[in-house]
């Protein structure tokens, strides 16, 4: 199996696995965060503004982890330096 095929296979598989595994953790964390926020809203409805704002900030921080995995996956698919390198080599030959 030559270099081009190997790099292609590795990039594709890794891109898929990155976003698959990378979404599990943040999804579970966000579910727990929203559940806790809802129960505390039920206990103290007049603190709704603070709770909602803190919930959104917390959700954004948790979401960032999934975004990092997504960015890595996109780089592997669309801006892959190794792929560009072997393609340039193959085109130069």
């Amino acid at each position: 199996m030559d270099h081009t095929t190997l790099i292609a296979i590795a990039s594709i598989v890794t891109a898929g696995l990155t976003i698959a595994f990378g979404s599990i953790g943040p999804a579970l964390g966000e579910g727990r965060a929203v559940a806790t926020a809802l129960s505390s809203l039920a206990q103290q409805p007049d603190a709704a503004a603070t709770i909602t704002r803190t919930l959104f900030v917390g959700l954004a921080m948790i979401e960032s982890i999934a975004i990092y995995c997504f960015v890595v996956s996109m780089i592997l698919i669309f801006a892959n330096p190794f792929w560009n390198h072997v393609i340039a080599q193959a085109a130069g030959k």
Binding site: A49, T50, R53, F56, V57, A60, E63, S64, I67, Y68, F70, V71, M74, F78, A79
Partner: protein, 226 residues
């Protein structure tokens, strides 16, 4: 498949490039500046005021309230910076309803620039409030062993700010582009509405996090200050 508006080259001369990001950013700046200039030409304090003036008042008092909630005393000192962050990012995303427009925040250059502004603003306001010595001493809290970790956390949260906004904006435009090649009308419209919502939330998150970082740098530390 275009990853960002950086790839739209409008004009090139040697290594100087006028790309889509720069053009859209300047268009947004023009829109915001000319729009608010036109609205604030005739301000009135009577009961009769134009709708646009009410809109601006809602925005300004809303942002001021949020900044005060975060714990910053005298929100007026910070509203110039934080309000501009929020309005720029929010407008950059709202204008996606215009066909042919791509949000400049979908390019890592713009979001990195905004995150670097926050990185520069935190010591600026910290030194303005606490003095140079007081601000530098805050890096050694709670113990001196935490000094490298505090520095690393400053840099990593700047990076996180940039990548979070970039990832959200880029994923929105990219999902839309991919869906348009697969399904016809309805699903891309739903995704585009979701993209607008996430854009607003991300604008709010960016400015609130900037406010929280500035509040952390400017809070009262020495009890003897009062």
């Amino acid at each position: 498949m275009r990853l960002s508006p950086d790839d739209i080259i409008l004009w090139q001369h040697g290594f100087l490039k006028l790309n889509g990001t720069i053009a859209f950013t300047w268009g947004l700046m023009l829109l915001l500046a000319v729009g608010s200039k036109l609205i604030t030409r005739k301000l009135s304090t009577a009961l009769e005021r134009s709708r646009w003036q009410s809109l601006l008042e809602i925005l300004v008092t809303g942002i001021e309230g949020q900044i005060a909630d975060v714990g910053l005393r005298q929100p007026r000192t910070y509203i110039g910076f934080l309000g501009t962050l929020f309005l720029f990012i929010a407008m950059a995303n709202l204008c996606t309803v215009i066909p042919g427009y791509e949000p400049p925040t979908g390019s890592l250059s713009t979001t990195a620039a905004l995150a670097l502004c926050v990185l520069a603003a935190v010591p600026f306001y910290g030194i303005k409030e606490e003095g140079l010595h007081g601000y530098l001493r805050s890096y050694a809290e709670p113990t001196i062993i935490m000094l490298p970790f505090n520095i690393i956390s400053e840099l990593s949260r700047t990076l996180a700010l940039a990548v979070r906004l970039f990832g959200n904006m880029m994923s929105g435009t990219m999902i839309l582009a991919i869906l348009l090649t697969i399904t016809p009308f309805i699903f891309p419209i739903a995704m585009s509405a979701l993209g607008l919502l996430t854009g607003m939330v991300q604008a709010y998150i960016f400015s609130i996090l900037a406010a929280v970082y500035i509040a952390a740098a400017t809070r009262d530390r020495a009890p003897a200050r009062r």
